[in-house]
């Protein structure tokens, strides 16, 4: 079976300006994720991991290299295949409270992807409401919060709303940027348990971006370590953590 996500020799650069050369943010990155698998992309701030994740959704143009998601291989930033890729890929941003529109109710936030990506399976009116409500059931939130706004729910609840929104279109791949950042220690386990349950139930492939090796250790089948835009080491999670080959990985673990 072909992997859900496959990249090879991916280069991403930010344009330069007057007297400023373009900066290579990601250089020759390559990995793949199969259905039901989790890959953790680990690195410090500025290592390019978030840029890479954004490029997978076409939010940042790719300069060169191969990028294939569910067998689709868009060739330009304006390629129509991006629409399909975005529909089939759920994104959980780093700060769920900031990533939700403060003026939109929980229900509107969860249902918005249904409106944007309508397509053949579009839902309207009551059916859309019911779908949003059932998503809340799935992530373990009370339906009573459907009418609330992001400022009126807790950080842990906002995280669950972001998960519900990411999953409402039944994606095959979910990109989670720092899924436990900013959460209380006693709530982190709840979110990780939920993500694990949803993965088992829906066969999701996860790309988890984190600087926290303990999150990678608990979630990932495979780990790729990024430093200054390059993947310096990757392999099975136990191998990487048990016997890190690269000096940077050893420094992260120490």
């Amino acid at each position: 079976m072909s992997p859900v996500l496959e990249i090879e020799g991916l280069n991403i650069s930010y344009p330069g300006g007057f007297m400023r050369p373009p900066r290579l943010a990601v250089c020759g990155a390559g990995f793949s994720i199969a259905r039901g698998q989790t890959l953790a992309l680990v690195g410090g701030s500025g290592s390019g991991k978030t840029t890479l994740a954004r490029a997978l959704l076409g939010l940042v143009p790719v300069q060169s290299g191969i990028l294939r998601i569910n067998g689709r291989q868009p060739t330009s930033p304006r390629d129509r295949q991006w629409n399909v890729i975005r529909r089939e890929t759920g994104m959980m941003f780093q700060d769920p409270v900031a990533s939700l529109d403060p003026r939109m109710s929980v229900w509107a936030s969860v249902a918005e992807p249904l409106a944007i990506h309508g397509g053949p399976g579009a839902l309207f009116g009551r059916a859309r409401w019911a779908k949003a409500a059932s998503m809340l059931d799935m992530v373990g939130l009370p339906r009573a919060i459907l009418a609330r706004r992001p400022a009126e729910i807790s950080g842990g609840q906002a995280r669950r709303v972001a998960i519900a929104r990411a999953l409402v279109l039944r994606p095959k791949l979910v990109i989670a940027d720092e899924p436990t950042a900013g959460l209380d220690v006693s709530v982190q386990g709840d979110v990780l348990n939920l993500l694990a349950d949803l993965q088992a139930e829906l066969g999701l492939a996860y790309l988890v971006i984190t600087h926290d090796l303990s999150v990678a250790r608990h979630m990932a089948d495979r780990i790729a370590v990024m430093q200054e835009g390059r993947i310096v080491e990757q392999g099975a999670a136990d191998d990487i953590l048990g016997a890190p080959a690269h000096a940077y990985t050893r420094a992260l673990i120490a």
Binding site: T180, V185, S186, G189, N193, D212, S214, R217, L252
Partner: protein
């Protein structure tokens, strides 16, 4: 005793932010205050910095060198801050003045001459201190800014240095550098340090003693090594079990603490942690837990007294 806190409470209207906290901080202590969101740790930190807002109603006693902070007027509190008490905050970008060069604000903060500021930047491990003195905060990385904030705090030669979540905004590698810098700073503070954090590993690396706050109440205080090795209070035990860095990987479920924090405006009865506690006994629901003190520190729990 440098700081004495006795039955200290802070309320915002009906909301109980800190309830009945008693604690002593001696010269040479590095005290960690551990708590999750809603535990009141930031309110307690503000109280220690004499920075509580006007609308906070305070009861009990919080004395700094035997002077009750509540008895001081605004001028008296101002005289303490930046001289006796220095602070390092979570977000150094917010605590540094964005339109002042680093050198200008270091001189203004501590009233110290250029040479002293330069020397301090060097001591906190900043390369090219001459250049940094002329730069603005936005030109520095997060880690560098936090180093500058620590340098500013140390320049005051404070008796107490309070750091509120000093590494939360930083990535893992920078976090470790700032922790080791804070550890070295202990030698430069002729008094005590208080580190407030939700992160066990930060406190474990820095502190001699740890106080655990839950819903505004101090449930356990003990020597850092003992508390981390053999926590006594059920909440501390549950919290340690939840820490991903400490728990072994297994295919089983991640540990969590079931239930929710009590509503901070609700009336209190019995033990504040009882509804979520797995070691709950009959008296927990109705009777406030006894304070069980010993050479280790103290713990407030019915199950410990039984």
């Amino acid at each position: 005793m440098l700081i004495e806190i006795e039955d200290f409470s802070v309320n915002y209207g009906p909301v109980k932010a800190v309830s009945g906290v008693s604690l002593q901080i001696a010269r040479g202590d590095v005290l960690g205050i551990l708590g999750e969101s809603g535990s009141g740790k930031s309110t307690l930190a503000l109280a220690l910095m004499a920075l509580l807002p006007k609308q906070a109603s305070v009861s009990g006693r919080l004395a700094f060198e035997s002077v009750d902070l509540a008895s001081l007027d605004a001028a008296g509190r101002r005289a303490l801050r930046g001289r006796k008490i220095a602070a390092v905050f979570q977000d150094p970008f917010a605590s540094l003045n964005p339109v002042m060069r680093i050198g200008t604000q270091l001189r203004a903060f501590a009233g110290s001459p250029h040479e002293a500021a330069l020397d301090m930047l060097r001591r906190v491990g900043i390369s090219e201190p001459d250049r940094r003195m002329r730069q603005y905060p936005f030109e520095l990385s997060g880690g560098l800014r936090q180093r500058v904030a620590i340098a500013a705090a140390l320049l005051c030669a404070p008796t107490v240095l309070v750091a509120d979540e000093p590494t939360t905004a930083l990535d893992a590698a920078t976090e470790r550098q700032i922790i080791s810098l804070l550890r070295e700073s202990r030698a430069l503070v002729d008094g005590a340090m208080v580190i407030v954090s939700h992160d066990l590993s930060v406190l474990a690396a820095l502190c001699t003693r740890i106080a655990v706050l839950y819903a505004g109440e101090m449930v356990e205080v003990g020597a850092a090594a003992d508390l981390l090795r053999a926590p006594r209070h059920p909440y501390t035990r549950a919290l340690l079990a939840c820490d991903l860095r400490r728990s072994p990987k297994s295919s089983a479920r991640f540990p969590t603490i079931a239930g929710q924090l009590p509503n901070p405006g609700a009336a209190r009865r019995g033990c504040v942690f009882a509804p979520r506690c797995t070691a709950r006994l009959a008296p927990c629901a109705d009777h406030a837990p006894p304070v069980i003190a010993g050479p280790f520190g103290f713990v407030r729990c019915h199950a410990m007294g039984a």
